[in-house]
């Protein structure tokens, strides 16, 4: 056992010397490799954290949302629908939600205006999300102007600002009274933006949804399960953002590995030839190349994942921010909670370290089974 360890140490020592002889090339390779692992790990960590947080937080979302479609567009839904919905067996309660989007021409940001059903702000005041406060540089007691449906400017006093802890769910929220909502968007007597339905038994959701759809063919129904699955799907491996971002990175990694697997440089071939000439066995050469691959890939994996962790959870994935931010002015500045998915890190390990190690060994094995003289002369 001791001799086996000594052998590994000797080969590793030789490998490190060999790597240091081509310092520039190997450092560049390590940098590129680390960058690829960093990008893949950043995407994985960020999306996994968003998925986990969404699944935790949105468990409290309404069980069922009913929207109305008129002439191919979502339209306010009559509150008269509520009575018939409440008549359906299994429905505990049903209420209208008043909410809408408001484009603020002052800063060019979009807000989500919402009327809380209970404990909402008094008429003339608003409670704003932290993102709105940032965009408008507003604090409690300041006045925000909104352009009303009649064209008149409506001034609302900021009564409260939601805590920065709520950034991920309420960054762009403007909570206001039903009267102010009506003044901004026009009176909506007997109408709501959509309806929320609560049921006694969650297993009856599908049946109740079908009954609502039968009674009101102009509606579409979104279940809480569908809301949860949306985030699970959009931020999963197969989801849009991951698939698109990972595609480029994986392709780059394949090119690096392919370059390694497709052959050795003249200098590396000569080195193998000399080693064989001085008495190294094929297995020694392969062991040396295994260590070479392991040194580079393990270093790149650990450094890449650590940098990705810092990037995502200490700097709020700043590199990806422009993707989600797009042309928006109001951008939620949330700090993701580091829910680490160990299986994803393991998958990343096998996706990056193993193929590279194999790609390093194959051409070396080809070179080491050839006659040393031929290898040194550069003949295959």
């Amino acid at each position: 056992m001791a001799s086996w360890i000594d052998r590994q140490k000797n080969v590793l020592d030789f490998t490190l010397s060999s790597l240091l002889r081509r310092k520039g090339k190997n450092l560049a390779l390590l940098a590129v490799y680390t960058l690829l692992v960093f990008l893949m790990a950043s995407v994985m960590l960020a999306t996994s954290a968003i998925r986990k947080e969404a699944s935790t937080v949105l468990r409290e979302a309404p069980e069922m949302v009913v929207q109305r479609t008129v002439a191919g567009r979502q339209d306010p839904i009559p509150l008269a629908y509520l009575e018939k919905i409440r008549d359906i067996a299994g429905v505990v309660s049903s209420d209208g939600r008043l909410w809408g989007y408001y484009y603020d021409p002052v800063v060019g940001a979009n807000y989500t205006l919402l009327v809380p059903r209970e404990d909402g702000p008094d008429p003339g005041t608003v409670t704003i999300g932290p993102g709105v406060a940032r965009a408008r540089m507003a604090s409690t007691g300041d006045t925000l102007e909104f352009k009303g449906a009649s064209g008149a400017l409506i001034e609302l006093v900021v009564g409260d600002i939601l805590s920065t802890d709520s950034e991920l769910v309420a960054s762009d929220l403007v909570l206001l009274s039903a009267a102010d909502y009506g003044a901004i968007f026009g009176p909506a007597d007997g109408l709501a933006t959509d309806l929320v339905v609560r049921v006694a038994n969650p297993r009856e959701l599908q049946t109740i949804a079908l009954k609502i759809a039968e009674r009101f063919p102009d509606t579409r129904i979104i279940l809480r399960d569908e809301m949860l699955r949306t985030y699970d799907a959009v931020f999963s491996w197969r989801g849009g953002i991951l698939a698109i971002l990972l595609f480029g990175v994986v392709l780059a990694f394949v090119i690096v590995s392919w370059d390694k697997a497709s052959g050795l440089s003249q200098e590396e071939r000569r080195e193998i030839g000399i080693l064989k000439a001085v008495g190294w066995e094929t297995s020694d050469v392969i062991l040396m190349k295994f260590w070479e691959g392991a040194v580079v890939s393990l270093s790149a994996y650990f450094i890449g994942v650590l940098l990705a962790y810092i990037h995502v959870f200490f700097f709020s994935a700043r590199l990806f921010a422009p993707v989600l931010k797009g042309w928006a002015v109001l951008y939620p500045q949330f700090r993701l909670i580091p829910f680490i998915d160990a299986s994803q890190l393991t998958a990343l390990f096998f996706l990056t370290v193993v193929p590279y190690a194999v790609a390093t060994i194959i051409p070396s094995w080809r070179a080491s089974v050839t006659d040393p003289d031929a290898v040194m002369k550069g003949i295959r």
Binding site: S171, L223, V234, V323
Partner: protein
């Protein structure tokens, strides 16, 4: 003779220690995130919210789960349009239901 091996060993050990520290930081952060998650969940329940606020660029990326395909001529996720977030965030799965496996 063994200097480089030892240096590399120490280097890898350092990285492993940092890795363990990273896992410990994550575990502690998740444990300490209880109040934040509770506050978010409280707001979701109180205001009957349906989505996370990840992007405020387009309605279908602000309210991902309320996006739809069926309203005529409406932009939708992955449509050829000019919002970067819309081009990257896919449509919700309930819009991609198939009627059955054909293969």
């Amino acid at each position: 003779m063994m200097r480089r091996t030892r240096s590399f060993g120490l280097f890898m050990l350092g990285l492993l220690v940092l890795f363990v520290l990273m896992a410990a930081h994550a575990a502690l952060s998740v444990r300490g995130a209880g109040p934040v998650l509770r506050e978010e969940a409280r707001l979701v329940r109180r205001f009957e919210l349906t989505d996370l606020c990840l992007s405020t660029e387009a309605n279908y990326t602000r309210h991902l789960s309320l996006a739809d395909f069926h309203t005529a001529f409406q932009d939708h996720p992955l449509a050829l349009e000019h919002f970067p977030s819309g081009a990257l965030l896919g449509p919700p799965p309930h819009l991609r239901r198939s009627h059955g496996q054909l293969d």
